[in-house]
C-alpha cells in the first residue's frame, strides 16, 4: 500500500524541525568561533579564521580545564555507576515496595533550586575540609548524577531477564563470571546510556563546581561562563564548542547503542 505524499512529508517535518532546533545554535557557535568580525544585522561573518580556535585551544588554561573536567566527570561517572548498579538491581526486583517513592526522593535534590543545593553541599564540604578540592567537587557532582544513573539502570534491570543468570549458574558460572559474561553484556546498552547521561550531567555543572571547588578546581564549563561575562563571541563560540564536544560524542554513542538494542 502506497503512503500518500502529504503523509510522507508530514513524517519528515518533525525530525527536520528537531535537527534545525539543535543544529542552528551549534552552527551559529561554530561560525562565531571561526569569525573575525560578525555584527548585527549581518547574516554571516565578514571572514573566517582559525586564529581564535588555535589560540584558545593552545592555551594552557583551556587544556588544564579540559583535563580537570574530564577527570572529574570520569571519576563521578565511575563512582555513580558503581553505587547505582547494586541499588538499581534491588529497586528493579518484582513487587519492590516503594520503588517510585525512592526514585522521586533521589531526584529531589535535583529539583531544588540549584543555589540552595550548592550552598548546602558546600557547607557540608567545608565542615569536612573538602571544599576547594578535587574530591569535594566529585562528591558534590554525585548528588545530581546518581539519580540519573539509578533511573536508567533500574529501567534496564526491570527489562533484564534474571533467569539468564540462573541459567549461567546451573551451567557452572560463579558470581563474577555471571556478572562478566552474562549480566554486563546483556545490560551493555543501558550501562552506556547511564554512563553518558551521568558524564554529561557532571560535565555541565557550573554552580556546584564553583562553590564546591572554591574557584580552585576549574573546568571548561567554568571557563565558558567566564567568557560569557566577557562578551567576546569568538571566545564564547570556541569554548562552547569544546564544552559541547564530549557530551555530543557520548550522547551520539549512547543513542546509537539504544537504537541497536531496540532494533530486531
Amino acid at each position: 500500500m502506497s503512503v500518500p505524499q502529504s503523509a510522507r512529508h508530514g513524517r519528515l517535518v518533525t525530525p527536520l524541525a528537531a535537527v534545525l532546533v539543535v543544529a542552528t545554535p551549534i552552527a551559529i557557535l561554530a561560525l562565531a568561533a571561526l569569525s573575525t568580525r560578525w555584527f548585527f544585522p549581518d547574516p554571516f561573518p565578514d571572514s573566517l579564521t582559525t586564529e581564535h580556535l588555535s589560540k584558545i585551544l593552545g592555551s594552557s588554561t583551556t587544556r588544564a580545564s579540559i583535563a580537570t573536567g574530564l577527570l572529574v566527570s570520569a571519576t563521578v561517572t565511575a563512582i555513580a555507576l558503581l553505587v547505582s548498579w547494586p541499588a538499581s538491581r534491588v529497586l528493579a526486583r518484582p513487587h519492590m515496595p516503594g520503588r517510585a517513592v525512592i526514585i522521586v526522593l533521589l531526584f529531589l535534590p535535583s529539583v531544588l533550586p540549584a543555589v540552595g543545593l550548592a550552598m548546602g553541599i558546600d557547607i557540608v564540604l567545608l565542615r569536612l575540609d573538602l571544599a576547594g578540592t578535587y574530591i569535594g567537587v566529585v562528591i558534590a557532582h554525585l548528588v545530581p548524577t546518581i539519580p540519573y544513573a539509578v533511573a536508567v539502570l533500574t529501567a534496564g534491570f526491570v527489562r533484564h531477564d534474571r533467569r539468564l543468570e540462573a541459567q549461567a549458574a546451573v551451567l557452572g558460572a560463579n558470581d563474577w563470571q555471571r556478572l562478566r559474561l552474562v549480566t554486563l553484556p546483556a545490560l551493555r546498552g543501558t550501562l552506556l546510556v547511564a554512563a553518558a547521561l551521568t558524564f554529561v550531567v557532571s560535565w555541565s555543572q557550573y554552580l556546584l563546581t564553583v562553590l564546591s571547588g572554591s574557584g580552585r578546581v576549574v573546568t571548561i564549563t567554568m571557563l565558558l561562563f567566564s567568557a560569557l561575562s566577557g562578551g567576546n563571541p569568538s571566545t564564547i563560540g570556541v569554548l562552547a564548542l569544546v564544552a559541547a564536544s564530549p557530551a555530543t560524542i557520548l550522547l551520539a554513542l549512547a543513542g546509537r547503542q539504544t537504537t541497536e538494542s531496540i532494533a530486531p
Binding site: A168, A169, V170, L171, A173, N174, A186
Partner: protein
C-alpha cells in the same frame, strides 16, 4: 549417578501451606524420570531446589551418596534445561553451547570441538556460527540441550523443555531426547504435565500432588490402561494430552492410575 531427593519441604511464606511438603524419591543412574503433576504443584520449585537455585526449608538432596546441602548452584554437577531456552543473545550458537566449558576453564579449541560434537548430536551443527536471534523455537531448544549436555552433567534436570514449541516440533524433540539419552546414558529428571510425553520418554514417573509424592512407578503403572475411568487421575491431565496435540491423528488414550504404587505421603 543416583539422585536421592529426601523429605524436601519448601515454603514461600512462613505462615502459608508448604509448596513442597516432604517430597522423597530416587532417580536411578542412567534413567529418565518424569516428574508429573498439575500446574502450581511445585515441580519447578523442586527442580530449582535440586539445582541449588532455591534453598529448601527442610530435607536434603544426595547425589551419588554425597549431600548437596550448602553447595551453590554453580558447583553442583547438574545442569538445568529451562522451559524457555534462555540462550545468551550476545553469543552465537557455538559459544552458547561452549558456555559451561568456558566457565570451567576449558581451552578454546577443546571447547569448540566438544560443542561441535554436541551440535552434531542434536542435528544443528550447520548453525554453529549463527546468531541465536535467527533460530526457530525448536532450534533454540536444541542449542539449549546441547549446551546442557556439553558439560557432561551427572544429572540433567529439564523443566518442561518442550512446552514452548508446537506439537510437531515437540515430537521431534522428544525423539531427540530419547536418542541422546540412549547415546550418552545421562541420568535425567524431567518435569512435564503431558502424560503422553512421559509415556514416550520416561523409565520412571513420579506424580506430585498437594506438595507430596502421590504415586510413583513405571509409565505403564502410572498411566495404565485405556479403559480405566479418568476420575481416578490425581489431576485432569488427560485434558492436557488432548489440548497439546491438536495435530495428532491417534485416538487419545485415557490415562489411569491402575497398578500405581502409592507412597506413604499419598492422599487417599
Amino acid at each position: 549417578m543416583s539422585l536421592i531427593v529426601d523429605g524436601i519441604v519448601k515454603l514461600f511464606q512462613p505462615q502459608a501451606d508448604p509448596v513442597l511438603n516432604g517430597v522423597s524419591f530416587v532417580v536411578e543412574p542412567g534413567s529418565v524420570t518424569c516428574l508429573l503433576g498439575p500446574s502450581g504443584v511445585g515441580k519447578t520449585t523442586l527442580l530449582h531446589v535440586i539445582a541449588g537455585l532455591a534453598d529448601p526449608d527442610a530435607g536434603t538432596v544426595h547425589l551419588d551418596g554425597a549431600s548437596l546441602d550448602g553447595v551453590p548452584a554453580h558447583r553442583r554437577p547438574l545442569t538445568l534445561l529451562m522451559q524457555q531456552p534462555q540462550l545468551f543473545a550476545h553469543l552465537d550458537v557455538i559459544d552458547n553451547v561452549a558456555f559451561g566449558l568456558r566457565v570451567r576453564g576449558v581451552a578454546r579449541r577443546a571447547r569448540r570441538r566438544r560443542s561441535l560434537e554436541l551440535l552434531e548430536l542434536v542435528g544443528i551443527d550447520h548453525l554453529a556460527s549463527r546468531s541465536t536471534h535467527h533460530l526457530s523455537g525448536g532450534e533454540q531448544q536444541r542449542v539449549a540441550l546441547a549446551r546442557a549436555l556439553a558439560v557432561r552433567p551427572a544429572v540433567l534436570l529439564a523443566d518442561e523443555p518442550f512446552a514452548s514449541v508446537d506439537a510437531s516440533v515437540r515430537r521431534d524433540l522428544q525423539d531427540l531426547v530419547t536418542s541422546v539419552h540412549r547415546e550418552l546414558g545421562t541420568t535425567m529428571l524431567m518435569v512435564t504435565h503431558d502424560l503422553d510425553e512421559a509415556r514416550r520418554i520416561a523409565d520412571h514417573c513420579v506424580v506430585l500432588e498437594h506438595g507430596r509424592v502421590a504415586i510413583q512407578g513405571s509409565p505403564h503403572e502410572i498411566i495404565g490402561r485405556p479403559t480405566t475411568p479418568t476420575a481416578q487421575l490425581p489431576w485432569s491431565a488427560h485434558r492436557h494430552v488432548k489440548t497439546t496435540e491438536p495435530d495428532s491423528q491417534r485416538p487419545v488414550e485415557t490415562p489411569s492410575l491402575v497398578n500405581g504404587s502409592r507412597t506413604s505421603g499419598a492422599r487417599p
